[in-house]
Every structure is written in C-alpha cells, then in structure tokens.
C-alpha cells in the first residue's frame, strides 16, 4: 500500500538509531563499572603518600619545601581534564562553564592564568578560548597510565619551581554517583598545610636516605602526579556514567518517537481504507 511509505521508512531509521544508542548505553554501563574499580584501586597510593608527607612535613620542620608554603599569587596554573569523546550529555560543557567562571574570577582579580589540557575536548576548548596554553595530552584511552601524564604535570611543576606560577589547580568532574557529576576546580599546590598539620599522638622522626630534602622532593612530585591521575580516573568514570545516562534518554526518546510515528501511520492507513470503502459504497449506490 502506497499510504505511509515515508512514515514506514522513518520508523525504520529511528529504530536503527535506537539500536545504536541502546548498544552504546550498555557498553558505557559495563565500562563505568571498570572505571570505578580503577578509581578505587588508585586510592591507597595517594592515601599512603599523604600519610608519609604528613609525617615528613612535621618531622623536618627546619626544611620548608616550596610545595608546602604559600606565596603571593600573581599567576596561577591550571590543568583542564576533560573527556576525549563526546556523546556524554552536558558533562564537558558543565565543566567548561565552571572553568570559564573560575577563569573570569582570576583575571578580574588581576591574576594571570597559564593553562594546560588533558583530553581532546579540553584541548579544543582551550584552543577556541585563546590564552596561554603550556601543554596538552590527549587520547589516554580507557586505561590511562600515569606515564602519559608526566609530561603535562612536569611543565606545570617546572613553572612552579621557577616561580612563574604561584598556585596550581586542576579542573575536572568529580564522580558523585551515576546521575550526578559535579565539576570541580581543586588546588594542588601549595599542598594544603591545614590538612597536613593535623596533630600526631606521639612525635618521632624517620631515618632519611639519602636526606630529607631529596626524599620529600620526589615524594611531593609523585603525590601531585597521583592527584592528577586520580582526577583523570574520576573524570573517566564520570564520562562513562554521563554517557550511559545520555544514551538511555536517547533510547527512550527514540522509543517515544517510534510510538508516535506508528500512531500516525495507523491513522493514515485507516483513513485510506475508509475512503476506499466509501468510494465502493458510493459506486454501488450509483449503479
């Protein structure tokens, strides 16, 4: 029947789109679980490290590391962590909005900003935004390794060591739960001393090999790297969760669309049958 042929094809095309979004939803769901596990696996390292740093910061009070002391803020560095791919709802736009807000606050206060990005969406955004971009890394995949991040973090740390930046932040999405991801801008350097100066029950000191300064140096660099790595992992988990939710709503919308089109198709079909019948009846009456 010629009636509603276009509608039929339309329904078929929406159906095939729905198949794709449903498949993507399921893929994202299984990846989300894996990324969450990875976030959990990375936690003990950062936790142990902050314990040791806390001890060291207390023990060697005569040596004050640059990463632990505040200085006047003239220029800040920030790494923007985003996803490599789209189709994850408003995840990246929300982060970018928060980031632009923070950026405006800084520039309004007369602070210069040096930026770097992790993830291709962020790289593209910073490119359109303009401004000073120090480093970038993309396509870390689903199993990012800390090795991929060393370069970007190192550029920021060098700037900090040379006194070119006075504070160092990361902007990333924080995983709250599957439905909620909150964009955050977190300060990494100087390391929050309030957090570190928690009272210990008894006082003791380590034996240092080779010496406190060298050990603390390396430890703090690793600590910052692990925090950035955590940020990347969190952002990954957020990406998968956001994609799952976005794809679920896309599949639902496709379902609704199909129902509506089906209804229109049925009505058109019925109308054409009624018309044919009335023509036959009219023809019979005329004879």
């Amino acid at each position: 029947m010629a009636v509603g042929k276009e509608i039929k094809t339309k329904i078929a095309s929406v159906q095939s789109t729905q198949k794709i979004t449903r498949a993507m939803e399921m893929v994202a769901a299984s990846k989300m679980r894996k990324t969450q596990e990875r976030v959990m696996a990375a936690r003990p390292y950062a936790k142990k490290m902050s314990q040791v740093i806390r001890h060291l910061a207390q023990a060697s009070s005569e040596y004050k590391h640059a990463y632990l002391s505040e200085r006047d803020v003239k220029r800040v560095g920030v790494i923007l962590i985003s996803s490599d791919r789209g189709l994850c709802g408003g995840l990246n736009s929300n982060l970018f909005r928060k980031f632009v807000g923070q950026l405006k606050e800084w520039t309004d206060a007369g602070t210069e900003v040096a930026m770097a990005s992790i993830g291709s969406k962020g790289e593209g955004f910073l490119g359109r935004l303009g401004g000073e971009v120090l480093g970038s890394v993309t396509h870390l995949g689903e199993t990012p390794s800390i090795e991929d991040l060393i370069g970007v973090v190192k550029t920021m740390l060098t700037e900090y060591d040379e006194g070119k930046i006075d504070r160092f932040y990361i902007a990333h999405n924080d995983y709250v739960n599957t439905m909620t991801q909150s964009p955050e801008v977190v300060q990494l350097l100087p390391v929050y001393t309030a957090e570190l100066e928690e009272e210990l029950t008894h006082h003791w000191d380590y034996i240092y090999e080779p010496d406190a300064k060298d050990v603390l140096d390396q430890l703090l660099i690793r600590y910052i790297e692990s925090l950035v790595y955590q940020g990347v992992l969190e952002n990954n988990a957020c990406e998968q969760a956001a994609r799952m939710v976005a794809m679920k709503s896309a599949s639902d919308n496709a379902g609704e669309l199909i129902d509506e089109l089906q209804l229109i198709y049925n009505k058109a079909r019925q109308a054409s049958i009624t018309q044919e019948l009335s023509e036959i009846v009219a023809g019979a009456a005329a004879v």
Binding site: A46, V52, V100, T107, G130, G135, G151, T155
Partner: protein, 138 residues
C-alpha cells in the same frame, strides 16, 4: 612464633601486595636493605630492582622500577613507580606535551576571549532549551 611485619606494596595504578612477612629486602638508593620487624622508622628512595618478601613459607618477588620506601616498626610501605623515570626522560615528555599544545593552537589569539566562549556556551544552552521545548510541544 616468629615476629612479622605488615607489608603494603602500592603503585598509583593498583595495590600490588598486602600481607605479613618475616623479612623484606628492598633495593634502596644507598644499597640493599633488609627489613625485619621492629625496624627503626626510615624513608628512602628505591632504585629499579627486586623487592623480596619472605613470608616464612615462601619468598615472593616483585619487580619495581623505582619508588619510595617507608618503614615503621610494624609496617613497610612501598610506593612503587609504574613508569621508568629519569629527569631527562621527564623533560622530554614535558617538551612533547608543550609541542602538542603549540601545534593545536598554532594560529590562535593570545587574549582570553571570554565573550566568545560565553557566546558559545549560551548557544549550546539555547540549543538544549529549544530541543526540550520542541519535545514538550509535540
């Protein structure tokens, strides 16, 4: 009963080993270390090498490419590096990251263009609103 010491070997990417041991051998930067229970508190950098954990029943080997060792009387923590590290290697990676960023922005303006960014965001928001309005209207 022999004394034991708790051993945690963690890297940034995973927890590698956690358990009790009678003796731990680690490649310290100043020389090989043997750590028995109730060792004095110690922090040292580690060279690439092998960490051997003697649990009394068996001896476990872990290869690490460097890291930091923390010893407390009843706990040994190894913060292992997962990557092979050297200062010049880090430097090379930093340059690579920098180059990437420069390539990506070869011909971009140097001032932060808030107006443009906000316009883009507003446009995206408007699109979303329009879509939801269309959906309601149907």
């Amino acid at each position: 009963m022999t004394m034991t010491i708790h051993v945690d070997i963690v890297s940034a990417e995973a927890s590698i080993y956690s358990g009790l041991a009678e003796m731990v051998y680690a490649p310290g930067e100043m020389g090989e270390l043997g750590i028995a229970p109730r060792h004095a508190p110690l922090v040292t950098r580690l060279k690439p090498g092998e960490i051997r954990v003697d649990t009394g029943k068996e001896e476990l080997d872990f290869f690490i490419s460097g890291g930091i060792l923390e010893v407390q009387p009843h706990v040994v923590t190894v913060l292992a590096d997962t990557a092979i590290r050297a200062d010049d290697l880090d430097e090379a990676k930093a340059l690579e990251a920098k180059k990437r960023a420069e390539d990506a922005l070869a011909d971009k303006a140097s001032d932060i263009d808030f107006a443009k960014a906000q316009a883009e965001l507003a446009e995206a928001a408007a699109q979303l609103q329009a879509i939801s309005r269309l959906r309601k209207a149907r």
